[in-house]
């Protein structure tokens, strides 16, 4: 299980190190202990020979067989080719234990009674093997304990030390600039985390201020525009009262349409910023069907202006707890959107059931929905829409955590608002 989490990474490194260390150290200790013991043994053998040589003066040749009879591990042999002290390892069969045993043997040329002999001394190494093994095992055990201890301690300490960091991380992940929840970080004594929290706090504060400023700017700009727009509209209304040529009347009507469009755009901007700001907390029991049926006649009339037919199907009562103003604005914009983006002489079908509202309208090709949801994007230059309708729809569904889906099937744009997306 590879994981890129902080603790996993540091633990894995430690683990790897431990394993390598053990794999190398164990055998190395064994080999080193062996060697040390062997050196010990060699020293002992040489010492034995030295001790023997010191008794050389009193030792007679006739005593040699007796020496050999009573000494199992030290013998005197007739001379051979040996010129100097020779140490080597050899295996002998032990009659008592009935098994092969390793020995370290010294063969050294000595002089007894003026004649040359070979002195042999040997030491059983079986102890050595057991000892070395024991030491290695002990050593390995200690190392394992040590490393396990370090590992666990590291894990525990890390979790404790990094706790404020994880808390900060969690809060940042949950942060949304347009919601009112500002992160409040756990106080920490660790300098780096403290610095991090402070910087993050400042960053968030600044960005919230910028965001609010921008929203207010839009809102203020829209408010500022209201008076000049009102004056503009008023003067056009005045102009209409005068004697005009046909050409002048046409131009004036175009101007009237333009200022009307400006007005509606401005109103939509204000609405959008209001929705973003006020959140519309007050909720009550709302019947979506009722609202839809109330506005249906108006939109049917509007639709017929474009040669569109509107059918409404009530498949169930959709009753929710919500802000009625938001529901109305949502439905209004869904209707208007359907009318505006329908192919001429097409069909609009509205269906409401206990969970969903579905708006289906004839279309030519699939909408680039992401682009459309950005403010001001338009479908085609011929539509008179100002593009904010979809942004308003999305904002309202987001605020209430309703689901919104768009698909294009069989020549129909299908918008579905799911009012109970949580429970499937």
């Amino acid at each position: 299980m590879t994981s890129n989490k902080l603790l996993s990474k540091s633990s894995r490194a430690l683990l790897l190190f431990s394993v390598i260390l053990l794999v190398i150290a164990g055998p190395v200790v064994y080999v080193m202990t062996n060697r040390l013991y062997l050196e010990e043994v060699d020293q002992t053998l040489l010492l034995l020979k030295l001790e023997f040589e010191q008794n050389e003066g009193t030792f007679k040749s006739a005593e040699i067989p007796q020496w050999n009879k009573y000494n199992k591990n030290a013998k005197i042999y007739p001379p051979g080719d040996l010129k100097k002290d020779t140490l080597f390892s050899v295996v002998y069969f032990d009659k008592m234990e009935k098994e092969d045993e390793p020995y370290r043997e010294l063969n050294a040329p000595v002089i007894i009674d003026g004649k040359p002999y070979i002195y042999m001394a040997r030491i059983n190494l079986i102890e050595k093997r057991n000892l070395a093994l024991g030491v290695a095992i002990l050593f390995t055990a200690v190392i394992i304990l040590l490393l396990a201890g370090i590992f666990l301690l590291n894990k525990y300490l890390s979790q404790k030390i990094w706790k404020p960091f994880y808390d900060t991380l969690r809060q940042i992940e949950a942060f949304e600039i347009d919601k009112d929840l500002v992160p409040s970080f756990l106080p920490t004594k660790i300098e780096e985390f403290s610095r991090l929290n402070k910087s993050l706090g400042n960053l968030i504060e600044k960005n919230i201020a910028i965001y609010k400023n921008q929203r207010e700017f839009v809102e203020n700009a829209a408010h500022e525009l209201q008076t000049p727009l009102a004056l503009f509209q008023g003067r056009i209304d005045n102009l209409m009262q005068m004697q005009l040529t046909r050409e002048q009347a046409e131009i004036l009507e175009a101007l009237n349409a333009d200022v009307g469009r400006l007005n509606r755009l401005n109103k939509n901007l204000l609405l959008l910023s209001k929705i973003e700001k006020d959140h519309f907390f007050k909720t009550e029991h709302v019947s979506v069907n009722e609202h839809a049926e109330k506005i249906l006649p108006f939109f049917k009339e509007q639709a017929s202006g474009r040669g569109l037919s509107v059918t409404y199907r009530n498949d169930g009562i959709l009753a929710i707890n919500s802000n009625p103003v938001l529901v109305e604005v949502l439905l209004n914009n869904l209707f208007q959107n359907a009318i505006r983006h329908s192919a001429a002489n097409g069909k609009i079908m509205v269906t409401i059931d206990e969970r969903r509202v579905t708006f289906k309208n004839s279309g030519v090709s699939e909408l680039n929905i992401e682009r459309l949801f950005n403010r001001f994007a338009k479908v085609a230059s011929s539509t008179k829409g100002n593009g904010l309708g979809l942004a308003i729809i999305r904002k309202i569904t987001e605020l209430n955590q309703w689901g919104m889906h768009y698909t294009f099937v069989d020549g129909f744009h299908i918008f579905v608002i799911d009012f109970t997306p949580g429970d499937q």
Partner: protein, 226 residues
């Protein structure tokens, strides 16, 4: 009819005055709450148009002053604020109507007329134009005292036209008036053509005058010169 306009944008005030004058409405105007409260203390008005955002204070203070004086002038709030809370507060303080800027002056006129009617003719609410009579409460229309079938929308349109007589009304203004709250959702104005046609037909059939004039490219006008 005498009305008081409380509004700090002088050009808006001028626009209102010149529109209302031909309809027999005399307008006084002030631009601050202080001046407004003084005027209200001294004079009586049939109707008051009140802007909420005044340089020296909140329009609501004027409403409170009115209440204190015990005056029952009809107040129409004209404000740029499109706020449910503001509306509710306005109505709670005694305002009779609320118009959001920007609005068509034709809309303002019929609102004033409706307000005056409500105030002055409790029980008897009738609009007459030559041979045409409209009973507001009963929602009936008579031509030469002969009742004619009119839909609610058609009556609404008729009152709008008669109220703004001799003024060219743009299709937009008519459509917005008929759509009420949904005015912002208007996509096209074609539907008013049908209503206008019906009105003309019904008057013609009843032997009434041909007062509805089509103004090329712009809209319609209720002309008292046939």
């Amino acid at each position: 009819m005498k009305i008081l306009i409380i509004e700090d944008e002088l050009q808006i005030t001028a626009g209102i005055k010149s529109y209302l004058k031909p309809h027999g409405v005399h307008c006084e105007s002030v631009a601050t709450t202080q001046a407004a409260i003084e005027k209200i203390g001294l004079y009586d008005y049939d109707c008051i148009l009140l802007d909420l955002m005044l340089p020296d204070g909140d329009g609501f203070e004027v409403l409170k002053a009115l209440k204190k004086c015990g005056k029952t002038e009809g107040v129409i709030i004209i404000s740029a604020k499109e706020n449910l809370d503001t509306r509710i507060e306005g109505f709670n303080l005694g305002a009779d109507d609320y118009l959001t800027k920007p609005f068509h002056l034709s809309e303002l006129l019929v609102r004033i007329q409706a307000l005056i009617r409500r105030k002055n003719f409790k029980g008897y609410n009738m609009v007459r134009f030559n041979e045409i009579g409209v009973d507001i409460l009963a929602k009936t229309v008579t031509v030469n005292d002969v009742p004619i079938e009119f839909t609610k929308k058609e009556i609404d349109l008729l009152l709008f036209l008669i109220g703004n007589q001799n003024k060219v009304l743009s299709k937009a203004a008519i459509a917005e008036h008929l759509s009420g709250d949904l005015a912002d959702m208007l996509d096209n104005y074609d539907f008013i053509y049908a209503h206008i046609k019906n009105l003309k037909k019904k008057f013609h059939a009843a032997g009434g005058g041909d007062y509805i004039k089509t103004i090329y490219g712009l809209g319609y006008k209720w002309d008292d010169q046939q």
